[in-house]
C-alpha cells in the first residue's frame, strides 16, 4: 500500500529579486514500510520536498497523498492535525523542547493528541528503552549528548505510531559512530514497527544503509534505485 505519493509537485521561492525553483514537477511514490533516502547537493530540493510532504509548506502546483487522502489542499488547522497524528519529524538540530525532560519530550506529542496519562507514560518508557535511553528519562536535553538528543527525537517521532517519519539531515551534527548508531536505530524501527522512513541526507553513512536511494538535482528526481 502506498504511504505517500507526490504527483507533479512544484514549488518555487523568492530570494530577493531571484526566483528559486525548489521542486520542479517532481513525482514520487513511497510504499508503506519503505526506508528511503533523498540525496543530492545543497539546494537540490530535499528539504523542500520533506516540508511539502509534512504539510509545513504549500505547493505551487501538484498533489500529495498520504494513504488515499489528499493533503496538499488542507487548511492550516488540518495540516497541523495531519502532522500531529500521522507524521513524525526528526530535524537536523533543535529537536527537543529544552525545558522538558526526555520523557516529557517523548510524551509531548501524545499529550497534544489527548492520550491518557498512564498510556503516555507506558509508551514513553517503552520507546525510550527501545532507543537505548533507559535510565535517562528524567534528564533534560542540556544533560544529553547530541546523539542521545537525536534518539529522544526519534522516540518522540515514532511513539504515536505515525504513518511515516520524515527526517531532515538527522546525522549532520553527529560524529561517525553516533551517526551510524542512529541510522541503525532507524533501520531497526523500520523493520520492527514497519514505519515508513523518508530521510533527506547527503551523508554517505546514511545513504549506504538505505534500501532505496532517490537522487535529486535542482528540484527533480534524477535517479531512484533500490539498493
Amino acid at each position: 500500500m502506498t504511504a505517500i505519493q507526490c504527483v507533479d509537485v512544484s514549488k518555487s521561492f523568492q530570494q530577493g529579486d531571484v526566483k528559486v525553483v525548489g521542486l520542479d514537477h517532481l513525482s514520487l511514490i513511497v510504499d508503506e514500510g519503505e526506508f528511503v533516502c533523498l540525496s543530492g547537493p545543497s539546494g537540490s530540493g530535499k528539504t523542500s520536498l520533506l516540508n511539502a510532504m509534512g504539510g509545513l509548506d504549500s505547493l505551487d502546483s501538484g498533489e500529495i497523498y498520504i494513504g488515499e487522502r489528499r493533503v496538499d489542499q488542507l487548511n492550516k488547522g488540518a495540516k497541523s492535525d495531519l502532522r500531529l497524528r500521522h507524521i513524525g519529524f526528526v530535524f537536523q538540530a533543535y529537536n527537543l523542547i529544552p525545558v522538558l525532560t526526555a520523557m516529557e519530550n517523548v510524551e509531548f506529542v501524545m499529550q497534544l493528541q489527548g492520550v491518557d496519562r498512564q498510556t503516555r507514560e507506558q509508551k514513553a518508557m517503552s520507546i525510550l528503552k527501545e532507543v537505548g535511553l533507559e535510565g535517562m528519562e528524567h534528564r533534560r536535553p542540556s544533560q544529553l549528548s547530541g546523539g542521545q538528543q537525536q534518539r529522544v527525537a526519534v522516540a518522540r517521532a515514532i511513539v504515536s505510531e505515525p504513518d511515516l517519519v520524515l527526517a531532515d539531515e538527522p546525522t549532520a551534527n553527529l560524529d561517525s559512530t553516533t551517526a551510524v548508531q542512529l541510522v541503525d536505530l532507524f533501520l531497526h524501527l523500520n523493520e520492527k514497527h514497519n514505519i515508513t522512513f523518508i530521510i533527506a541526507t547527503h551523508d554517505d553513512r546514511v545513504m549506504s544503509r538505505c534500501k532505496r536511494l532517490v537522487r535529486m538535482v535542482d528540484g527533480k528526481v534524477v535517479s531512484d534505485t533500490v539498493q
Binding site: N51, G54, L56, D57, K76, G77, S80, D81, L82, R83, L84, R85, F89, F91, A93, Y94, N95, L96, I97, P98, V99, L100, E104, F108, V109, Q111, L112, G114, V115, D116, R117, R156
Partner: protein, 413 residues
C-alpha cells in the same frame, strides 16, 4: 478537534511555568518591577486616602457638622443680620433623635478684636462648651482653662492670635461687631484661656466665648447663627437632610459637601485621581512586561517553530505565552499586595510629617499621615494589573503563534 483537554492545558501550564524561570534574572527583575508597582499603587493610594480622610474629618469637625442649618442668606453673608430663631419643638425633637449623634447651635459672626498693640479681623463664636465637645477635641488648652458654660464671660483665643496681638492670659481684649440693627456692638473680654489647634491657621481666626454672653453683646434674643448636626449614618445624609428641611421650611439645611465646596469635591477628585494614578503606574510597568515577553518569545522562535511543526495549534502557542505572563503577573501581585499590607500595618500609627506641616495645613490636613486602606482600591489595583497585564501580553503571544514553522526552525540559535 479544537477543544482543549485538561492534559493539554496542563502541558501548556507546565511549559509556561518552566519557561518563566529559564532566564531567572530577567524574570526576577520583572517580578520586582510588578511587585513595586503594585505596592506603589496600593500603599501610596492608602496614604493619599488617609490624607483625604484626615482632611475630611478635620473639615467636618471644623465646619462643624455633617449637616448645618442656617438662615437662607447666612452663607452668602454670615453677619448677625442673617441669624435665625432657636429651633422649634418639632425640629428640636428631630435633632434629639437617631441617627443624629449630637447637635448644637452657636453664634458665629465676623468681628474685630483689639489688644493694646494690634487689631485683627476674626470669627467671633458664642458656644455652649458643654455641648460643643467635638470642637474642643481639635483644640488643646495651652494656658488657662476652657470656657465653663454658655454664660461664661471670658474669652478663649488661639496661641497664634495671642502672639499677633501681643497679648496673653488674663489680659483684656475688645471685640467689636454689629447688632441686628447695624449698630456697633462691642465688649471687653478677659482672656481666660489660650488654645493650640491641630490646624494652626484656625488659631488666628476663631475666638470663643459663652453663647449667652455673645447673644447679650450682639443683642440677639432667641436667635442663633447656625445649628451643627453630627450623625452616626454618614452614608445617608441626603435623607436626613430632607427630613430636617421639612421641619425647618424657613431655613437652609445643607450637607457638609454643600457647605464646603472644597471638601465636597475632595472625595470626587480623589476617586478619579486614584484611578489615574493606578493607570499611570501600570503604563510604566507595562513597557517592562511587554519587553520581557517579546524577548522571551524572540529567544524561543525555533522552539515555537518546533512545536508548530509537531502539530501544536497556534492558539496553544498563544495560550502558553499568556500563561507565562499570568504567572508573572500573579506572583507580582501576591508580593506587591503583601508588601502593601505590611507597609500599612507598619505605618498604622501614621507617618510624622511635621517638617511640612505648614503646607499640609493649607490643604486642611494634619501633620501625621495615616494610611487608609480601602478594599475597593485593592481590588481596583489588582484588576487593573491583571486585566491590562493580560491584554499587554496578548500581542507578543499572538505574534508568536503566527510564526511559520519552517522559517522559525531555520533561525540561527
Amino acid at each position: 478537534m479544537g477543544t482543549f483537554r485538561i492534559a493539554q492545558i496542563a502541558t501548556l501550564v507546565l511549559l509556561a511555568w518552566r519557561n518563566l524561570w529559564r532566564n531567572y534574572r530577567r524574570t526576577l527583575i520583572m517580578l520586582a518591577a510588578i511587585s513595586v508597582g503594585v505596592w506603589a499603587m496600593i500603599f501610596l493610594t492608602a496614604l493619599m486616602r488617609g490624607m483625604v480622610k484626615d482632611a475630611l474629618t478635620r473639615g467636618i469637625d471644623s465646619l462643624p457638622g455633617y449637616i448645618q442649618i442656617h438662615n437662607p442668606d447666612y452663607l452668602d453673608d454670615p453677619s448677625v443680620v442673617n441669624s435665625m430663631a432657636d429651633p422649634e419643638a418639632d425640629l428640636r425633637h428631630a435633632l434629639d433623635e437617631a441617627p443624629i449623634s449630637e447637635w448644637f447651635s452657636r453664634i458665629k459672626v465676623p468681628a474685630v478684636v483689639s489688644s493694646e498693640r494690634d487689631t485683627r479681623g476674626v470669627q467671633f463664636l458664642g458656644i455652649d462648651p458643654q455641648k460643643e465637645i467635638v470642637t474642643f477635641e481639635t483644640l488643646t488648652i495651652v494656658k488657662g482653662q476652657m470656657l465653663s458654660s454658655p454664660s461664661d464671660k471670658g474669652i478663649l483665643i488661639g496661641e497664634k492670635l495671642a502672639e499677633k496681638l501681643d497679648t496673653g492670659l488674663g489680659k483684656r481684649i475688645v471685640v467689636m461687631s454689629q447688632d441686628p440693627s447695624n449698630n456697633l456692638a462691642e465688649q471687653g473680654f478677659r482672656i481666660v484661656g489660650i488654645y493650640r489647634a491641630e490646624l494652626r491657621a484656625a488659631e488666628e481666626v476663631n475666638i470663643y466665648t459663652g453663647m449667652d454672653t455673645a447673644k447679650a453683646m450682639l443683642h440677639l434674643k432667641h436667635k442663633v447663627s447656625e445649628i451643627a448636626v453630627f450623625t452616626d449614618d454618614e452614608a445617608d445624609l441626603d435623607s436626613l437632610q430632607h427630613k430636617l428641611s421639612a421641619l425647618a421650611p424657613n431655613r437652609e439645611v445643607k450637607t457638609w459637601k454643600q457647605v464646603d465646596g472644597y471638601l465636597g469635591s475632595l472625595m470626587k477628585v480623589m476617586n478619579g485621581f486614584v484611578l489615574v494614578w493606578i493607570l499611570v503606574i501600570f503604563l510604566a510597568m507595562s513597557f517592562g512586561l511587554a519587553n520581557t515577553l517579546v524577548m522571551a518569545v524572540f529567544e524561543r522562535i525555533r522552539e515555537i517553530g518546533l512545536m508548530l511543526a509537531l502539530g501544536m495549534r497556534p492558539v496553544a502557542v498563544t495560550l502558553q505565552i499568556l500563561f507565562e505572563s499570568i504567572f508573572m503577573i500573579v506572583i507580582g501581585l501576591l508580593v506587591g499586595n503583601a508588601l502593601s499590607f505590611i507597609s500599612v500595618a507598619v505605618f498604622a500609627d501614621g507617618i510624622d510629617l511635621s517638617a511640612v506641616t505648614q503646607g499640609l495645613e493649607m490643604a486642611g490636613m494634619g501633620s501625621v499621615l495615616t494610611p487608609d486602606l480601602l478594599v475597593d482600591d485593592v481590588v481596583l489595583a489588582n484588576l487593573v494589573v491583571l486585566i491590562l497585564g493580560i491584554l499587554t501580553a496578548l500581542l507578543p503571544a499572538w505574534r508568536a503563534s503566527k510564526y511559520d514553522p519552517i522559517q522559525a526552525l531555520s533561525r540561527d540559535s
